[in-house]
Symmetry: C2
Amino acid sequence: MINKLIKKIEKTHAPIVVGLDPMLDYVPEHIKAAAFKEHGETLEGAAEAIWQFNKAIVDATYDLIPAVKPQIAMYEQFGTEGVKAYQKTVDYCHSKDLVVIGDVKRGDIGSTSAAYAVGHLGKVQVGSKKLSAFDEDFATVNPYLGSDGIKPFLEVCKEEKKGIFILVKTSNPSSGEFQDRLIDGRPLYEYVGEKVAQWGEEVMGDNYSYVGAVVGATYPEIGKVLRKVMPKSFILVPGYGAQGGKGADLVHYFDENGLGAIVNSSRGIIAAYKQEAYASFGAEHFADASRAAVEAMIKDIDGALQAR
Amino acid sequence: MINKLIKKIEKTHAPIVVGLDPMLDYVPEHIKAAAFKEHGETLEGAAEAIWQFNKAIVDATYDLIPAVKPQIAMYEQFGTEGVKAYQKTVDYCHSKDLVVIGDVKRGDIGSTSAAYAVGHLGKVQVGSKKLSAFDEDFATVNPYLGSDGIKPFLEVCKEEKKGIFILVKTSNPSSGEFQDRLIDGRPLYEYVGEKVAQWGEEVMGDNYSYVGAVVGATYPEIGKVLRKVMPKSFILVPGYGAQGGKGADLVHYFDENGLGAIVNSSRGIIAAYKQEAYASFGAEHFADASRAAVEAMIKDIDGALQAR
């Protein structure tokens, strides 16, 4: 799947991923009104609204991008109905041949981590059958529990040729509270990055490993260091746009071929129609505003890579 | 909810929690056969089997125990159907007046963490309504992202009088890879424990905080240290039984009144009928075997607390 992701990036010239994190506040009133009319102001109504919102954005952008990253929290907040909308979104993106990165940030130990791994990336044994459940292509994973939490994912990645992105240095302001603490003079995130590189050796694609890392756009100097610590790990970069990251800050996350990183934008794309720059589209044409925002983001990142 | 948990522990004399982590391998053949007969060897069939298994165990043990801890990974592996079985289990345990600790180990940042918090513990805004989704009483939370990941949970805990248990030192063999790394001579888990104590001050119940910690039974010396670092935090203790922890190892996790900790056992109770000690019950009477295992666990821990 890492090979497929790379091929799709090369084809689209777009090392970006659209974060499908549909807060209800982002969904235009006409979509919410239609969903609430059918299902009432219920969890089912909310789930229907975010699904219709997602579908329109995917329809308007899928030919420009290699991948999407639905954030499962935004679906889980609506309970089982929300989780069904997550599944519909994953399946629909697959029907458009998009690579799906499930931003689930799971992490547990032993048989529990194995359950997450088979449920999200692999196949679960039911009687004599092996069945797929959520079936994303990649999942994000939290490393706090150490190798015991990661190894069950590696097994499934090997079997299914799928991948994971392990949290190394997150984009948020307080990420340093634990991740930056110095151990023998070096920050914790470097130790985690070293383990990512080591875990990744076991599960190599053609040029990059199935095991990638999450490094926030908001810490470009750290990105530069971690690129070297994990030379074979693709970096998933959150924090672009709304959180403050810009294309010019991110050139060191990439290799000399413009590969090795994929930059996520969520709010900046899916709620583009709410920004001044795209306000002229109006709420009715929110998906066209998203398409324009995708085009601008590709231009920003491609421009920065060309200019280096 | 921490006050309710403590009252229930005092009433049952059982500082224990039954981990509802139903692997399909634990479910007796007759339950699986009935579920597969109705739904086929499908995700729906698997979900029905684990739900029937859970229900029988809850019916056989609820009067002895204060709380249950369903591990959501074991449900998520069966996709949306599994998540529905998780919700049914949470709701059924509430109908039996059990405190429900959702072992979800979520952790993200800002609005994403807020979405997890409202989805699992709070109420989500849908149009003019505020609706509950999963509605557990406690959730487990991963601290790797720092305060940004925790504070949205604190807000919801305040509003709803619910609680969280933050991973500090996990029970697995590799937990030391990152958690034990020394920072200025002190291990990372102590820093995390200090933050737990600090976060917890904002959200106090009568004697203990709504903010608790997870500390594995398999590291009793560390438990002794962390008890002092977080004097007002209840400790959720995994790793008893199948993972090797014993009652006598755990006395230092408790305060002088036998409070301050709650010990989880999953496999040791729900799959008791597979152990030699309880084999005479047979697979047909698996729930009675679970009841006997609960009684033995209460005796082991109570005995250890009396003997200190």
